[in-house]
């Protein structure tokens, strides 16, 4: 199933990353996984929490700009060639990957979870299910 990811605009200045993270911490919100994309001028922090609506409210109250994007969590075998097999399925379904990152909070010895951002999450979900790729549910991901 699809997962809601939050994205945050950050200027490339010292201290810009700390402010949102501290705001989430003060509100008792746990960041499950995150990734920081940077350009010469600005950065985008992408992250996943259990309650995205509340996290969005907390950050917007601080005057930050947050957008919600649907991403797809995919199970990948934790072995050489595991990711390549999933990427092959993605390629043959004709899907383009915008970006991807590891789901940090879920580490099991034999399975990994990778977050994928496709241009069209719904079409990707359908095509990947048909190709037998295992899509994770939020319950599976959020279980500790």
């Amino acid at each position: 199933m699809k997962l809601k990811q939050l994205s945050l605009f950050l200027e490339n200045r010292p201290g810009q990353l700390r402010a949102p993270i501290a705001a989430l911490g003060n509100a008792g919100i746990d960041i499950l996984t995150m990734t920081l994309a940077d350009t010469a001028q600005f950065g985008i922090l992408r992250f996943i929490v259990a309650d995205p609506a509340r996290a969005k409210d907390v950050l917007e109250a601080e005057g930050m700009i947050v957008s919600v994007t649907e991403v797809v969590p995919i199970q990948v075998d934790n072995r050489p060639g595991g990711l390549a097999a999933v990427l092959a399925a993605i390629e043959s379904a004709g899907l383009g990957v915008e970006y991807m990152y590891d789901f940090a909070a879920r580490a099991t010895p034999d399975k990994a979870a990778i977050i994928f951002r496709f241009e069209d999450a719904d079409r990707a979900l359908e095509a990947l299910k048909a190709a037998g790729v295992r899509i994770l549910t939020s319950e599976e991901l959020l279980r500790k």
């Binding site: 994309a37 350009t39 001028q41 992408r46 700009i65 994007t69």
Partner: protein, 350 residues
């Protein structure tokens, strides 16, 4: 000097404030032209006018105040600043009209949205003291649902109330029975015919304490002599988009902040919170335009943000004919004005 009942000082557009004086008759004229101005905006007895122009030496505060009182409206003399209190007063008293600078209204609007302040009773804005574009008016009206009127005036002549937009919102009627307008060529001083663009000069016809003959306003406009649909026979001037002195010369090209504003507004979804920073690198002027990111334009994808940046650069370059760098900055990171907006920071040490 004993005939003088009040002193004010200009807001200092060109640097040092200019002190101006009024007799009682001057103040009466001032209130009268302000009453006419408010009436032209559709305001009357029963309206609640929040006057957020600064009270004090600046003419905006007291000028609007006495005019609104003479009109018979309820005046809230809140003066400038303290956004939170402005919004509270607006909601609590069911304010129907607001007087402030257009850039401060945008700031109020932004804060009102954040705090979900109810300003549904507000229907008229009387905005002045700084040039603003037609595109900015469209945005203000679309986002707030109010009618935004441009008011014109300058301390040296009387203060606000020299000219006002009527319901047509097409040029500002000049109260010619008190202030006689002419347009001159700012270079040669020659008087230009109606319709020609040039510098507005004003002659006071009734002022006692400080009469002015052909006072050079440095505001660039044109006289619109054709009759107005509202029925007023007072001639109009075109809205003032620029002054002959808020211009900056960049790499030999004359640039007005209002041009940058127009370009930014052309790119959909960008509210004009921006700052122009000028620097000089190896003898060459560099222009950076800092633009705040809004929720409407923020994208999770870097290439879309970079595309926006390039779109903005192209829009400004098209209008100015100069290469600029656009920097996207975090919301609310640029300084907000509570009076005249400071759009240009010149670090060139000229």
């Amino acid at each position: 000097m004993e005939e003088i009942v009040r002193l004010h000082a200009s807001s200092g557009t060109t640097g040092k404030p200019i002190v101006v004086a009024y007799t009682q008759a001057d103040l009466d004229v001032w209130s009268e032209v302000m009453v006419r101005s408010f009436a032209a905006c559709g305001l009357h007895r029963g309206d609640v006018i929040q006057n957020a122009y600064g009270y004090g030496l600046f003419t905006g505060g007291l000028g609007a105040h006495y005019g609104a009182e003479m009109l018979g409206a309820t005046v809230i003399p809140i003066s400038g600043g303290n956004t939170e209190r402005q919004l509270m007063v607006m909601a609590d008293f069911g304010v129907t009209a607001l007087c402030c600078t257009p850039s401060y209204f945008l700031h109020l609007l932004e804060s009102a949205k954040e705090t979900k302040t109810d300003f549904s009773k507000l229907r008229v804005g009387v905005f002045g003291a700084e040039p603003w574009s037609e595109a900015m008016r469209d945005r203000i009206q679309a986002e707030s649902g109010i009618r935004a009127h441009d008011i014109y005036g300058l301390s040296e002549i009387i203060g606000p109330g020299v000219g006002i937009e009527c319901a047509q919102q097409h040029g500002l009627h000049i109260f010619e029975d008190h202030f006689y307008p002419e347009i001159i060529d700012p270079e040669t001083g020659d008087v230009l015919p109606d319709g020609a663009e040039g510098e507005l000069v004003l002659t006071t016809l009734s002022k006692q304490a400080m009469p002015m003959i052909r006072y050079r306003t440095r505001d660039i406009t044109a006289i619109m002599a054709e009759p107005c649909e509202c029925g007023r026979t007072l001639r109009r001037i075109r809205r003032i988009g620029r002054r002959s002195d808020d211009m900056v010369i960049i790499r030999g090209v004359n640039v007005f902040p209002s041009q940058v504003e127009t370009a930014l507004l052309r790119v959909e979804g960008t509210l004009p919170h921006y700052q122009i920073v000028l620097t000089r690198d190896k003898g060459l002027d560099q222009i950076e335009v800092k633009v705040e990111v809004t929720p409407e334009v923020f994208s999770d994808e870097i290439r879309k943000l970079e595309a926006l940046q390039h779109q903005l650069e192209a829009a400004i370059e098209n209008l100015l004919g100069l290469r600029v760098t656009v920097t996207l900055v975090q919301p609310r990171s640029l300084p907000r004005s509570e009076g005249k907006a400071r759009r240009v920071t010149d670090l060139r040490n000229l």
